[in-house]
Chain length 274, copies 4
Amino acid sequence: MSPPYKLAARESQPENTVIRVGECRIGGGEPVVIAGPCAVEDEEMMVKLACRLKRMGVHILRGGAYKPRTSPYSFQGLGEEGLRILARAGGTAGLPVITELLDVRQLPEVCRYADIIQIGSRNMQNFGLLREVGRVKCPVLLKRGLSATLEEWLMAAEYILAGGNRQVILCERGIRSFETYTRNTFDINAVPAIKHLSHLPLMADPSHGTGRRELVLPVSRAALAAGADGLMLEVHPCPEKAVSDGPQSLLPDELAKFMGELRATESCRTRVIA
Amino acid sequence: MSPPYKLAARESQPENTVIRVGECRIGGGEPVVIAGPCAVEDEEMMVKLACRLKRMGVHILRGGAYKPRTSPYSFQGLGEEGLRILARAGGTAGLPVITELLDVRQLPEVCRYADIIQIGSRNMQNFGLLREVGRVKCPVLLKRGLSATLEEWLMAAEYILAGGNRQVILCERGIRSFETYTRNTFDINAVPAIKHLSHLPLMADPSHGTGRRELVLPVSRAALAAGADGLMLEVHPCPEKAVSDGPQSLLPDELAKFMGELRATESCRTRVIA
Amino acid sequence: MSPPYKLAARESQPENTVIRVGECRIGGGEPVVIAGPCAVEDEEMMVKLACRLKRMGVHILRGGAYKPRTSPYSFQGLGEEGLRILARAGGTAGLPVITELLDVRQLPEVCRYADIIQIGSRNMQNFGLLREVGRVKCPVLLKRGLSATLEEWLMAAEYILAGGNRQVILCERGIRSFETYTRNTFDINAVPAIKHLSHLPLMADPSHGTGRRELVLPVSRAALAAGADGLMLEVHPCPEKAVSDGPQSLLPDELAKFMGELRATESCRTRVIA
Amino acid sequence: MSPPYKLAARESQPENTVIRVGECRIGGGEPVVIAGPCAVEDEEMMVKLACRLKRMGVHILRGGAYKPRTSPYSFQGLGEEGLRILARAGGTAGLPVITELLDVRQLPEVCRYADIIQIGSRNMQNFGLLREVGRVKCPVLLKRGLSATLEEWLMAAEYILAGGNRQVILCERGIRSFETYTRNTFDINAVPAIKHLSHLPLMADPSHGTGRRELVLPVSRAALAAGADGLMLEVHPCPEKAVSDGPQSLLPDELAKFMGELRATESCRTRVIA
C-alpha cells in the first residue's frame, strides 16, 4: 500500500534529497551542525558567538527573533531587529542563518534575512503557514510536533512539498511522554524510521529533545550514530543568563570540544565503512 | 504561590464567568449544547439539520468552513461559502453559530459570520492567532491541544484574556495517550480540575474525545456529571457519507433522544441539589 | 473478526455477569460502593471506620494488608495481622472485605480473610498470579495496568476466566499520561468501551484515577454517569496522618454526603430511564 | 537533596559497578553483547545458533524458557526443559546464559541454569520477585517497565540492592508512547541519564525498543554512542518461523556483520578518546 505522503515518500524518490545551504550539503553524507542561542539577545554577543562557532567548524547559525512562548508575559523575541542582528552576525562570521517563522505575516521579513526558515513544533500542523512556505524558494526545516506521529509529520512535510517547495529538512526534537526527568523524550527510533520512509534529510535537536545540558552531547552522538544528517544545538556563552532555554544550552567550550571529536569520529567512520 | 495564568485563575475572579450567546448563558448553570456536522457540506442539508437541532433543544449550531486536515489532499472545507451557508442555516433556525478560525487572515470573514470563534486543538499554541482573537469582541472557544497540560491550556487562554477579550470558553476534547481503541482519551479529570483552577466556562467535546459514536453519549453524561458547562457534539444526518469524522458523528435521532433525557436529568438534578 | 479474549467478550455472553458479594450484586444495576483506607493501620480505627461506612450505605470494606510500594524503605503493610484486622472490622460492621494479593505465596491467607481478591495495577500482567486466582472460588477485582490498553486488560482477565474462575470484576483506576497535575488520567472512555466489549462488571477508582481529593467526587459522578457498576474509594478519618495516599483520601463526612446524593440521584435516574 | 534510591545512586558510589559474567565485564568499558532467540524452541537449533554467536563474538546467550504472554492461549515457553536446552547450548558454545524469571516459585530452577537472571518489564514492580532475587548471588538484569519513570526504575533496583545483591544490571527496552509505527519508543535520553544518576551498568535492548528489524542496528549504534554498556539483541535463524518476536529478530548474518563493525568502531573509538 502506498503511503499517503506521496512526495515525501522514499518510494517516490529512492535517492536522498540533498539541500545546499551556503557551503554545506544537508543530507549529503557529512553531518551538518547548526548552532546558536535559543533567542537572539544582543548584537555584540551574537557576532562574537557566531565567529567563535565558525572557527570551531559549525556550519549554520541559529537564533530566534520571534519566540513562541507558553506565557504571554515572557520575552517574545526582538522581532525584526532580531532578524537583522542574526543576519549581520551570520554575515560577519561567514555562516548561513536559520530562524523560526511563527506567523504568515512575518514571511517577507524572515525570507529577507534567513537562509533556512524554521517551522517550530507548535506549528507543525499550522496548515496555513505550511502552505505559505510551500510557495517560497527558501529551504524549510520542519520540526516534529510534540505529539505528532511519524505519519502526521510526513503529512505536514507533504503540505510544503505539494506547494512546490522541495527543500524540506525534517528535525526530530523529542516527543512528549510520561517521563518528567527530561523535558522531552528524544525519539531515536524516528531517526532510522524516517530515513527508511522518506528521502528528506533529517536533523536532530537534542537540546530540546532532552532539556538538560549533561544529556545533549551523548544524545547528539546517538542521533548521528542512528543516521541523522546533522544536529541542531543550543549554545550560549552564559547559559544562566540566557533569556530562554538556559538549562539545555551548551557552553561554547563544550561544543568546541565536541566538534573536534566529531571530526575525529567522522574520519574513523569513513574508514570503518570503507 | 500564584499561578502564572493571572487573569484565567479562579483566584483573580472567584465567581464564574458567564458568557451570553443568543439566548443562552454559557457557564450559567444550565448545560449548553452545541451541535452540528464536522464540516459544512451543502446548504439544504445544513438548513434542514439546523431546524431539526433547534426543535430538539440544541442551543448553538456548529460547522467547519475552514478545516484543518492532516493531509493536503483531503477536503479542506468550503471556505467563505461555508461560512455563508452556516450563517444562513443558523439564521433560518434561530441558532447562534460557531466555526473554527485557522488563520489570522480569515479573521474578518469569520467575525462577520460567527457568534463564537473556535480555536482548534492544533492551534492552541498558535500565539499570533491567540493575540488576534484577544482583540475582537466575539466570544472565543479554545480547545485543549492534543498534548497540552492544564497549565499550558490556561496560559493559552491567558493570551486571549491579556489582549482584552474576556469572553473565553475552554473546551476539553481529549488528549493523546497510548490507547489506540479510542481516537483520543477524554480527560475527565480536567473537568473538575479546570473548574477548580479557573473561573472560565468549560465545554466538553466527547465526539473528538472518543472518536466512536457508541461512546459519545455515555461520555457526554459523564462530562456533565463532572461539572462541565455544556457539550459540543458532532451530528450528521448520514454519517457514512460525511466528508469527515463520520464514525464519531451522532445520528439526529440519537441526539434528540439524548436532549430529552438531558431535560429530565436536569430537572432531577435541580431537585437533588435542592 | 472475533476478539482474542474469548471468554471475556460480550460476544461470548450477551448478558451482564453479575457477581454476588454479601448482600450486594456487582453488575446488577445498582451502583456498589467499596470504601476504606489505602492501608490497614490499626484495629480500633478500622472497626470504627467500618461501622461508620456501613451506616452511610457503603457496601464493601477495602484495606491493604500487603502494600506494593515504589520504595523498599516505605511502609509495606501489616501483612497477615492486617488481614485479621480487616476481617474483624468487616465482621463487626457487617461488611464484606476486599484486599490486595501481591504474591502467589500469600494466596491461602488472603483467601481465608477476603471476600474479594484485588489484583493491583502493577500486577495486571503478573501471569503466574493471574493463573493462581483463576483456580480459586473467590471473586477477583482486576485493576487496569498503568499503561495497559483495553485489549491487554481484557486478555489479563482472560487468564483468570480461562483458569475456571468466572467471577472477575474489572476496575479502571487511571492511566499514565503526560499530564502531571493529576496523579493519573482517569480514562472515562474505558467505562462505556469496556461495557460494550465485555459482559464483566466494571468498577471505577477515582481516588487513584485522580490522586487529588477535590477531584474524587466529580469523577465518581462521571464514572457512574458513563455506566460504571460501582466505585472504589479511599477514605480516611485523618488523611494528613495516613501512612499512604492521604492526599487522595476522602473524609468520612464527604463520603457520607456523597452516599446521600447517590441515593437521591439513583432514585431520579430510575425515573428518568422509566 | 539526596535521591530516594540510596544504594543505586551515583552519589553513594562514584565509580562504576562492574559485573563479571564468564569472561566478560559488564560495565567495564567494552560493550557486551547478549544475543539469542526470544524463546528457546528446540535444542538442535539452539546449540547451532549458540556456536555461531560465539564465533561472531557475542558474549552471552539469551533465550526465554518461561515467557510472559499477553494471551493465555499463546505459547508460554518450554519451562524447565527450555532452561536445560539453554544451559546445554551455552555450555557447548562456551557462553554464559541469561533467562527470564517470571515467578518466585521458579527461582531455584532458574538459579540452577542461568548465569544472569532477567526480570522483565512487566515484573519491574513485582516487589516479591525483586526481594527474592535480592537474596541470591546471581547477577540480575532488570528491565525498565513499559511506563516506568527513571526514578521508579532505580527504586526497583533498590529493592534488589537493599536485599544484599549488588550485582544489578539495568536494561532500557523502550517505553510506551503514543507512537504506533514502532512497538515501543526506545528512550535514548535514559542512557546518559541513568549513567549520570547511578553507578549500575546499563544495557540496551533495541529489539523490544523498536519492534522492527530494520531499526534494531541503527538504534544499537545509537545506544552505544550514548554510553550504554552493551546490547541485548534478539536473533533467530528463521524469524518468520519464530514462535514469538519474529519481526524484531535479526538474522545471524546481519548480527555477524554488525559484530565486525562493532570491533572496528571500538578500535576507532579508543583512538578518538586517546
